[in-house]
Amino acid sequence: MTDALAPVPPAKRWWLPPGPAVQRAFFGGWTIAVFAFLYIPILLLVVYSFNDSKLNLHWAGFTTKWYGLLLGNEVLLRAFKNSLIVAGASTVLAVFIGTTAAWLLYRYRFPAQQTLGLLIFIPMVMPEVLMGVSLLVLFVNLGIPLGYTTLIIAHTTFCFPFVLVGVQARLQGLDPSLEEAAQDLGATPFKAFWLVIVPYLMPAIVAGALMSFTLSFDEYIVTIFTSGSESQTLPLKVYGMVRVGLNPQLNALSTLFIAATAVLVIASQFFTRKKTT
C-alpha cells in the first residue's frame, strides 16, 4: 500500500530492473514455461470434456452430452447440494468470526497477542490430515454424530483465518480518525464498528467470503474424516470418480469446477483491489 506513495524513479523499466536483455528474456521465458505447465493440463481437461468419444486422444467431434449426463446424475446433484449447504454455512460463520476478530485485534491490545496471532495462523498451515483426524477424535468423544454440523464446524475452522487475515490487511490502510469521528458524534463502539468500519471493510469481507466458499467447496481431506454418510459433499464423489479412471463426464464436471473457481477468484480479486479513497 505504501509503495504507491513512494516517488516513481524516472525512466523506470516497466517490468524488470535495468539489466542485460538476456536476463529479461530468461525470466519472461521461464514464466511462460511455468504457466504452460500450470495451464496445459487444465486446458486439455476442458477441451476433452467436449469430445464426442470415450477414447481420449481421438477427437470425434464437439458435443455437450457429458454435461447433459451430469445434470441427470442424482448422486452428484445431491452431493452438489450438500456442498452448497456446507460451504454457505461455513462462509457465514467464518465471515462473522473472522471480521469481528480482525477488528478487535487491530483496535485493542490483548495479552499474548503474538501467541494469539500464531494460533490463528495454525489452521491455515496445519496439515489437513491432522485437522481432520483431531476433529474426528473430538466429535467421537463428544458424541456428536458425523454430519452437516461436524462438517460445518470443521470447514469454518480452516476458513475463518483467511477472512481474518484479508480483513486485517485492509485495516492497515484505515484512517483512525474515521472511527474517532464516529465516536465523537456519539456512536457506541459497536455502532461505530457496524456503521463506519464494516462498510469500509466490505471489499475485504466479500473477498474473504468468496475465498471461504471456494476453500470449503473444494475441501476433500478434512471432509473425509468429518462427514457422515448423508452429508457427502461433491469432492468426495469426485475422488471416487477419479479413482475409477478416465471418464468424460468427470472432464465435464471438472470444467464446471474450474469455471466456477475462475469466476470466484476474479470476483474476489476485483473486490480486494477495489479502492475506497
Binding site: P41, R107, Y108, V129, L138, I258, T261, Q269, R273
Partner: protein, 297 residues
C-alpha cells in the same frame, strides 16, 4: 487476495492505534477464542491423549497410558514410510522453489497492470480443487491417457508406457499442486522489494549474479521461508494426490494415518503417527518463525 495477505502477515505486524482491551472487546472476541480453543487446541490435545491409549476388539479407543503406539511407530517399516514422505516433500519443495522463484520475481517486478493479471493466473489453479488438477494429470499420464496415445500415434512407442504409479508421478502431482503456494509468498516479498536498490547496484557496476546474491535473495528470504513452510509440511502430510498418482502400493505417512483412522480402525496408532507429524509441523513452524524474527532484527 487473502493468501498473499496471509503470507505477508507472516513477515510483518505493523503497529495500530491500540487501546487496552476492556470487558467489551474481550466478550466480542470470545467466538474466535472459543472456536480456536474448542476446535483447534482441544482436538489436538485429544489426539495426543489418544496416541497413548489402546483400542478394543471393535476398534474403539480405550483410554490408558502406554507407549505401545510410539514403540510400534518407531519400527523400521513406518520410519521408512515417513522417510519417503519427507523425501518426496523435499523434492517437491526444491522443484517448486526452482520453478517458482523466477516466476514470482518476474511477476513482482512487472508493471501494476500486468502484475494483477499474472497473479490472478497463479491464483486460479491455486483455488481449483486439487482432485481436479490431479485428474488432469491422470488423463495425460494414464495407460490410455493422452501422452501414451500421442506417443503411440507418432510410433515412438508400440506399447503404453507406465508413467503412473511411479515416484515420478507422485512428485509431479505434488509439484503441480503446491507450485502456487511457493510463487505467492515469494511474489509478496518481491513486490515489496525497493527497485531503486537494484538500480543503484547496477549503476555501481554490480553484475547480475551479485545483485541477485547480495540484494534480491536476502530481501526475499521471508517469502522463501514462507513458501517452504507452505509447501514442505503440507506435502509431507498430503495423501490423496499420492494415492491417486502413486497407486497406494508405496503409501506416504498421510495415507497410513488415513488408513489407521478409516479402514484399519486403529485410532491410537494413527494418532501416534499423527503426533509425529504434528511434531514435524510445529518444529517447521517454529523454525520459520524464528527465521523471520531473525530477519526483522
Amino acid at each position: 487476495m487473502a493468501i498473499t495477505a496471509a503470507t505477508a502477515a507472516l513477515a510483518t505486524s505493523g503497529p495500530s492505534p491500540q487501546r487496552r482491551a476492556g470487558p467489551g472487546p474481550w466478550f466480542a472476541l470470545t467466538p474466535m477464542l472459543g472456536w480456536l480453543l474448542l476446535f483447534v487446541i482441544v482436538p489436538t490435545l485429544m489426539l495426543i491423549v489418544v496416541s497413548f491409549s489402546e483400542r478394543d476388539a471393535l476398534g474403539r479407543v480405550v483410554y490408558s497410558f502406554n507407549f505401545e503406539n510410539y514403540i510400534r511407530a518407531f519400527d523400521w517399516k513406518w520410519l521408512k514410510i515417513l522417510g519417503i514422505s519427507v523425501w518426496y516433500a523435499f523434492l517437491t519443495t526444491v522443484i517448486c522453489l526452482i520453478l517458482g522463484y523466477p516466476v514470482a520475481y518476474f511477476i513482482g517486478r512487472s508493471s501494476e497492470r500486468v502484475r494483477g493479471l499474472l497473479i490472478m493466473l497463479v491464483m486460479i489453479p491455486f483455488w481449483t480443487s486439487f482432485l481436479i488438477r490431479t485428474y488432469a494429470w491422470i488423463s495425460i499420464l494414464a495407460q490410455e491417457g493422452l501422452l501414451n496415445a500421442l506417443l503411440m500415434t507418432l510410433n515412438i512407442t508400440s506399447a503404453p508406457i507406465g508413467f503412473m504409479y511411479t515416484p515420478f508421478a507422485v512428485v509431479l502431482g505434488l509439484v503441480y499442486n503446491f507450485l502456487p503456494f511457493m510463487i505467492l509468498p515469494i511474489y509478496t516479498s518481491v513486490e515489496k522489494l525497493d527497485g531503486s536498490l537494484i538500480e543503484a547496484a547496477y549503476d555501481l557496476g554490480a553484475r547480475p549474479a551479485r545483485v541477485f546474491g547480495q540484494i534480491v535473495l536476502p530481501l526475499t528470504k521471508p517469502g522463501i521461508a514462507a513458501g517452504i513452510l507452505l509447501v514442505f509440511v503440507p506435502a509431507i502430510a498430503m495423501f490423496a494426490i499420492t494415492t491417486l498418482m502413486g497407486g497406494g502400493a508405496n503409501p506416504t505417512i498421510g495415507e497410513v494415518i488415513q488408513n489407521q483412522f478409516t479402514k484399519a480402525r486403529n485410532q491410537p496408532f494413527g494418532a501416534a503417527l499423527g503426533v509425529l507429524l504434528l511434531a514435524i509441523f510445529l518444529f517447521s513452524l517454529w523454525l520459520s518463525t524464528k527465521f523471520r524474527r531473525g530477519e526483522e532484527d
